[in-house]
Amino acid sequence: MNAISKNEQNALARAVLEIDVNNHAGVMSHVVGLFSRRSYNVEGILCLPVGDGRQSRIWLLVNEDQRLTQMMKQVEKLEDVITIRRHNADHAVFQDLETFFRP
C-alpha cells in the first residue's frame, strides 16, 4: 500500500490560491483566461463577494507546476486583482466541499 495518504498526496501535488479582486462581470474571465491559454487546468474554483460586495475573493485549486510562480505574477498584473496569496492544498476552504461533488 502507498504510504502517503490521499490528503498528503494532494498537499504535495496541489496548491490553493486566494485572490482578492474587484467584483464586476469579467474579472473571473480575466483570471481563468491566464490559466487556460497556457493549458494549465484549474481543478477547483470558489468565489463569493466580500464585505460590502465591492470586492470578491476567488479561491483556486490548481496542480503544482513549475509555472505556478509565473502564473501568480501574471495574475497579480491584472488591473482588477488586488492581492494574491498562495496556500498549501490542505487549506480548509476546499475541504468540506466533498459532499457536493459525489458522482
Binding site: 469579467g26 510562480t69 501574471q74 498584473k77
Partner: protein, 556 residues
Amino acid sequence: MTETLTGAQITVRLLERQGIRTVAGIPGGAILPIYDALGQSTTIHHVLARHEQGAGFMAQGMARATGQPAVCLASSGPGATNLLTAIAVAKLDSIPLVAITGQVPKAMIGTDAFQEVDTYGLSIPITKHNFLVSSAEELLEVIPRAFRIAASGRPGPVLIDIPKDVQAQAIEISEWPDPGRAEPAPAANSALIEQAAAMINAAERPILYLGGGVIHSGASVAAIELAEKASLPTVMTLMALGAMPVDHPLALGMLGMHAARYTNLALDECDLLIAIGARFDDRATGKVAAFCPQAKIIHIDIDPAELDKIKTAHIGIMADISEALGQLLPAVFQNSRKNWVDRSNALKAEFPFDLHSTDNPRSHFGLIQSVAACLDDDAIIATDVGQHQMWVAQAYPLRRPRQWLTSGGLGTMGFGVPAAIGAALAERGRTVVCFTGDGSIMMNIQELVTAAEENANIKIVLMDNATLGLVHQQQTLFYGERLFASQFRSSPDFIKIAQGFGIAAVDLDASANPCATLMEAISRPGPCLIHASIDAEQKVYPMVPPGAANRDMIGA
C-alpha cells in the same frame, strides 16, 4: 457650470482633454453617436482608414513615433474583430493604444443582434485591460483610467467597448476628471542597485543587452552613458534598435536569429549579461540553455513578471529603466576594460557583417544603403514583416530612439504602410520611409488611398521578389527545397496600383540611374511608392536555425 451632454459627447470631450488631436477609425452603426459628436469637434482630426486593422496600425504608428497613447475607433462586430490583430501587435510590443469600439445597445447584448460580437471577451487576452461601459457616468472614470493604464508601467493597449445606448444617454456634467497620465514608476530597490553595480564593477566580460523598454522609458541617453562609463559592449533587440547609434564604437548591433556573427559570438563569451528592458524573446536568445552560457545575469524591467520568466536572474530589479539607470550610473566605476573591448573589436574584425554589394542599388543591401544616403537621422523608418524587415534591421544606420517602427513580437505583415501613415501624421516635419515587401504590402494595400487622402509624407520602398521571402527561405533551407505556396504565380502591377490609389510611383527597375530616381522620389513631398525588384534567391544571413543555439549560425 453644468452641461447636459450625451455619452458620445462626453467621450469626445474626454479625448480632447487628453490632448488627442488625431484619431484613426471607420464608422459603423453602433458607433455613429460618437462619430456624430466627433464631427463637431474642432480640435480632433479624424483619419478615415479603409480597414479597421489599418486604423489600429495608424494609431500605433502615432504612439510609436511619439511615445504618447494614441486612439483608434471601430464599430461593433466586424469593425471590432478587424481591429483585434492591431491590438495584439500593440500588446506584444508594449505600445500605449486606446481602442474605442461601438457595441450594440445594452438590452440587445447577448441576443446575437446584428453586428454583435463579444468584443470584451475577444479582447481580454490581447489587451492590458479592457472595459465594457454600462453608463454615461462611467465614461468619466473609464476613459481617463484607460489612458492611465495604457501609459503606466509597461505600456500596452486598452479597449473601451461602449454600447450605443450609453453613447446616446444624456447626463448632467458639472465637473471634469483630470486627464489620465502615466503613474510615477516605483523606485528601484537601492540595495539591489548597489549589488548590480558591484557585479558590473567585478565583471571582466560584461555585455549590455538593451530591449524595447529602454525606448519606452526614454532611457537611451542613460544607457549609452552606462555603456561608455563602464566600457560595456552593447547589443540591442529588434525593438531597441536606435537606442544606441549603430556606429557607436561599443555597439554590437542586433542580437539573435539574424545577428551578425560577432554579436552572438561575443554574447557566447560574456561573463555578465546586463539585460535592461528586454524580455529574453526566443528570436533573441535562440536555444535558451545555450544563451550566454558563462554569464551571470542582471535583469532590470518595469514588469515584475518578466523577471525570471525565461532566464533566472542573479539580480532581478523591478524598476523603471530611467530611474534605475539614474541610480546605477554613479555606483558604477569608470573602467576602460581594455582586454574585453579589444576582444569584442577583434570578433568584429574576424567575423564581420557582410554587407555585400552595397554599392549596387539594385541589390537588397545596396537599396537600403541608397535610401539611407538620401535621409538624415530625423527620418522615421517603418517596416513591414519579412526578409526586408530583417535586412533593414541589419543594414540601416539607425541612430535615435523612436526612429524605428516595426512589428516585433507579433511579426505582423501589413503593419508597415498604415503605421508609417500614422507616424507621418503625428510627426509632420519628418519624412517617413516604409520598407515593405510584395507579400506584406498586399495585406493592407487599401491604405494607400488613405495616404493619398491625408497627403501623408511617406515613401514606400517596395522590395519585390514575388515571393513570401522568409517562407521561401525556410522551405529552401529546412524543408528540402520543397517550395510550396511561397512563390506568387501572379503579381500585380504595383506602379499602376499606386497610381490608381492616387499616389506617385516610380520604378527603379526602369530607371537608368536608380540613385538619382530614389533621391528625387524621396525629396518630393507627399506619398510615393518606390518599386524595386530584388533577387528571390537572396537569404537573410546569418541565420540561427529554429531551435538552435545562437552560436550555431548558418550562411554568410
